[in-house]
């Protein structure tokens, strides 16, 4: 509806060329670089034409917030400041996004939980903020090691939720995430999650797009809600909310509003499939045993499959990339031949297994595990052992008194 002005081909103040996002991500040459996951976040943001980044850099889970501060000093970020707390940061992100900015932030663990009230508000206000979640433990006694329990709390906020396995996923999905979440019919916040420490603190070879290319800027006039109109919902909602009126119209409007958030999650499906090449990746799903996992549990599952192949056990793999939108149809199709479905997870409750059980027929096929939590590693051997035990094969003890 706005006067569309294409920035493609023009340069920003740093001399980067605004580039068609598809060309930048799929056709531009890639430069292999050896970076930590935190450094990869910084490099993605360098190319993201980000207007505002707000940081609460206490978390030792990731250096990303501090590194993006360096980007601001270099002139790649429009504005950058530190909030008083995680709750303040997420509220300030909302303010910046209401004003029409492309907004980015990071969080982890207890910080995510402290800020939680903001996430359904972001979704309800249709603010396409991108939040990196470098997952860690949330409960006392605290842990800074990876634990994906916080993802389960994000699943019903109305945000898009993606779970990266590798630093390469992270680099690509940060940039692609802005494109998907800013589509006018989607226009929702994105929680881009990874398993903290494993991805953020370890180095890997990541193929980067050219540093002299960047995403086109965000166009707030394509938003499905008015940009910063203090007289209209969603802003006005906060001082004149529906809950202040007890009548059918207020309730019906609020209900329709909530439905619209989840409708937008559904609409993100086709864009997510296009940009991250499907909601899941699959390997050998004709096998009778299939591992379904997300995040670094996929990497461990892949290693377990290699170990099992050495012993003559064939096993398939499903990598769940997007949790919202949820790939229900894809998982049903990928597991239709499986007699045993194993769901290794880095959390104590097994939320991914529960999601899968509620999605597929004959859910007794799902073995919810193995689980580790609190920062434990998940050796591939324990996945292989659990599979062999379920199949009635002999499995060596992996822990015990050494007898």
């Amino acid at each position: 509806m706005a006067e569309i002005k294409s920035h493609i081909g023009t340069q920003n103040k740093k001399g980067q060329t605004y580039t068609d996002a598809w060309k930048m991500m799929h056709e531009a040459p890639r430069n292999p670089s050896f970076y930590t996951g935190s450094e990869v976040i910084k490099e993605a943001l360098r190319r993201a034409s980000c207007d505002v980044m707000i940081a609460y850099p206490i978390t030792p889970q990731s250096e990303a917030a501090a590194l993006i501060g360096e980007l601001f000093a270099e002139g790649y970020i429009g504005d950058y400041f530190r909030g008083e707390s995680e709750f303040a940061v997420m509220s300030q992100c909302a303010g910046a996004a209401f004003g029409g900015a492309r907004v980015f932030t990071t969080t982890a663990g207890p910080g995510t939980m402290r800020a939680m009230e903001n996430f359904p508000m972001w979704a309800g206000a249709r603010l396409p903020i991108q939040m990196i979640v470098t997952c860690r433990g949330i409960n006392s006694p605290l842990s800074i090691q990876p634990d994906t329990i916080e993802i389960s709390y994000l699943l019903n906020t109305g945000m898009l939720v993606w779970h990266a396995e590798t630093a390469q996923d992270f680099f690509d999905w940060i940039l692609k995430g802005f494109i998907v979440s800013e589509e006018p019919e989607v226009h929702l916040p994105l929680a881009l999650c990874c398993d903290g420490f494993f991805v953020t603190h370890t180095k890997d070879v990541v193929n980067l797009t050219p540093a002299d290319m960047c995403l086109p800027p965000y166009d707030p006039y394509r938003s499905p809600v008015p940009c910063m109109d203090m007289e209209c919902p969603p802003v006005r909602m906060m001082r004149d909310p529906f809950i202040m009126k007890s009548n059918y119209i207020s309730y019906a409007t609020h209900a329709s509003w909530q439905q619209e958030i989840w409708a937008a999650v559904e609409r993100s499906r086709k864009h997510t499939i296009k940009w991250i090449n499907g909601l899941i990746d699959t390997e050998n799903t004709d096998a009778e045993v299939v591992i379904v996992a997300s995040g670094t549990a996929v990497s461990q599952g892949r290693e377990a499959i290699r170990l099992l192949e050495d012993e003559g056990v064939r096993c398939g793999l499903v990598k769940v990339k997007s949790l919202r939108p949820w790939p229900g149809e894809e998982i049903r199709e990928a597991t239709k031949n499986a007699k045993h479905i194993f769901v290794p997870e880095f959390n104590v409750t097994g939320w991914l297994a529960k999601e899968i059980k509620s999605t597929i027929p004959n859910s007794e096929r799902v073995h919810a595990g193995p689980h580790v939590c609190g920062g434990m590693t998940m050796p591939p051997e324990i996945i292989a052992s659990e599979i062999k035990t379920a199949l009635g094969l002999r499995s060596e003890s992996l822990a015990g008194r050494g007898s």
């Binding site: 706005a2 019919e185 938003s223 499905p224 008015p226 209209c232 119209i249 409007t253 619209e260 559904e266």
Partner: protein, 211 residues
């Protein structure tokens, strides 16, 4: 493939969002009718037919065309006005075309007169009181349009058309996407083309018995 179809209501106490029922938005060059993707040309004909069939065909222009916030908006507003004039020319005696604005989205109930102004939070009141049986949204922000379209589908039998400047609306019974001045004019041309060939309905919009 979903069996769900986006049809005139009253559908339900709380009708679902069509997107949650498996209805997809059209791609560029396409439209949807009742949730089924069709070539855009077919949608022009059907929208014109619905307008000419209705007792009270109504255009609801929203803030994006009501306020001259850029040159394109002003041109669209002129095209909407022209469409309304065409509609008045082409209907038969007894039909009553209307142009009712949605100037903003403030929750105003019970302060406004819903017969002269539509509000996305209670659009059903405007439909009921004016006995509107076919309407078109244009220039309404997408979130607010979907909010309204669901409420209308829930409690009224009004046929809804969306002329959307972005990706379209599953919650309308018929939706265009990428709306432009040219598309508004083209719809007017289709109305002229079908003038006199469509028999108006004899009854007006039904309302939900519970209201």
């Amino acid at each position: 493939m979903t069996q769900y179809r986006v049809l005139p209501g009253p559908e339900h106490f709380l009708p679902p969002a069509a997107a949650s029922m498996g209805i997809y938005l059209p791609n560029p060059g396409e439209a949807h009718i009742n949730g089924v993707i069709v070539p855009e040309e077919k949608a022009y004909e059907e929208a014109a037919r619905q307008f000419l069939m209705a007792q009270v065909p109504t255009i609801f222009p929203g803030p994006l065309v009501l306020w001259a916030w850029n040159e394109k908006a002003a041109k669209k507003a002129a095209a909407v006005r022209k469409l309304y004039e065409i509609l008045k020319e082409c209907v038969q005696p007894g039909q009553k075309p209307m142009l009712i604005p949605m100037p903003d989205y403030r929750p105003k109930y019970p302060k406004i007169n819903p017969e002269v102004e539509i509000n996305p939070n209670h659009p059903n009141l405007t439909i009921w009181h004016n006995k509107i049986d076919c309407c078109m949204f244009i220039g309404v922000h997408c979130h607010q349009a979907n909010l309204s379209l669901k409420i209308i589908r829930g409690g009224t039998s009004c046929y809804t058309v969306a002329m959307c400047a972005q990706a379209g609306h599953e919650d309308a019974m018929l939706s265009f996407r990428d709306a432009s001045v040219e598309k508004i004019i083209k719809l007017g041309e289709w109305i002229r083309k079908l003038k006199g060939t469509v028999k108006p309905r004899l009854t007006t919009a039904k309302t939900s018995a519970s209201n």
